[in-house]
Amino acid sequence: MIDNFNRFVIPNLDLLAHGLWVTVRICAVAFAMAVAMGAAACVIRLYVPGVRYLAIGYIEFSRATPIIVQLLWVNYVWPELFGFPQSVEWAGIIALAIQSSGYLAETFRSGIEGLPRGQIEASMAVGMSRSRTFRRIVAPQVLLVMAPSIVNQLAVVVKASTLVSVIAIPDLMYDALKIVNQWFEPIEVLTSVAVIYILTIFSLSAIAKRIADYFREKYGLAAYA
């Protein structure tokens, strides 16, 4: 086993490192987009009565459709319909962002609806507008309280990103499968890739937990946990 590890994994570390970088890049951009899209969908659902059903439709669609369907749909159908995306990497990013934004929208919504009503009333009582109340009072508290759920969604994005290899994005999984298909020795390569994913997600969770714990301790929000 050690022998196979030295033969198939060590010489391909550069390739795996490049794959990991592509994975990190895709996940970072997709997650940032998902946070923005999820927040927008949540705000529209809660505060814009005229079009709230559009937001509900979007959220339900993004959560009810398998990620593989969204990947193939964005990669093969969107260019025909809308003329973009023009690269597989952007197709992967958009599909991951759509899927994750639906879950994040619902996470944000539960955070907003769970906020004690008195917090908003205190803000209105001193003459703050609804938008200022949202920006200064609601949003910071929701982000603090929902931080663990938001980080959890990032881990889901990282795991879901393994599927982008099906549209030929050279991510970590794609590169690993390339090595496996070349030598037909899956055990060491796939085990190594599994370990890299575990370490990546574990590190993300640990860093996020420490940051969240720091702020929860600082603001005395531990009771919400």
């Binding site: 917090q119 009333e121 001193v126 703050m128 200022r132 200064r136 600082k218 603001y219 929000l221």
Partner: protein, 266 residues
Amino acid sequence: MIAPTLSPASTGGPILRCSNVRKSFGANEVLRGISFEIPAGSVLTIIGASGSGKSTLLRCLNHLEQPTSGEVYLDGEPMGVRIKPNGTRVPDKAANIARKRAQIGMVFQQFNLWPHMTALQNVTEALIQVKGLDRAKAADLGRNTLAKVNLLEKADDYPARLSGGQQQRVAIARALAMAPKVMLFDEATSSLDPELTGEVLEVMRQLAQEGMTMVVVTHEMGFAREVSDRVIFLHEGQIDQDGTPEEVFVKPTSERCRRFLSSALS
């Protein structure tokens, strides 16, 4: 020459006027035609059993609840409605309602301090965001107001690090810093342990002595009797007894009020 328009309060009129206010939640009519006036610098206390409509009335005064009918006037200006030149009344813009609300301080039973802000930030937030003061000026004013409620040394503490009494005093400072025309207190001591109640009542007593116009909903009958200029006893959404503390507490004419007081004081 056109004479300058004077506010009612500046000519000795009421600073707050409540005219036949009714409020229903669905089929449940909580307020059934409440009318009163409060002269500037006086203290009105509202007492009554749970569910009599005290808190709803207070929340109608600053339009946190929109009355179903009737009107509230702050210094002669109607809250929540705009009177057009031809005399018709239309719902006011949210920005105008917010502007008028900023002139009415409110202190809640549950304090409602913002947990992600320090005591000082809680006090300065509206000064910066609503009144448009720069940060340095707001911080100066915030510290002065915290000093007034004896909490200057807690300025940089977050609410979670403060006792209930301290949190409520910060909440009073938050309302006070806006230099309101009227302060509303909604059972400000009901969530506090008995040993913490005194420090909050002391601040309220001090405000009353300084001439702050106050509307106080409370179960602290001793405090109400000592500080109030006028006391209203609410029963099922209507004013059942109305008078000076002497008239209400010593010789109430309403049998319901007498029963309420005897159970509240026993």
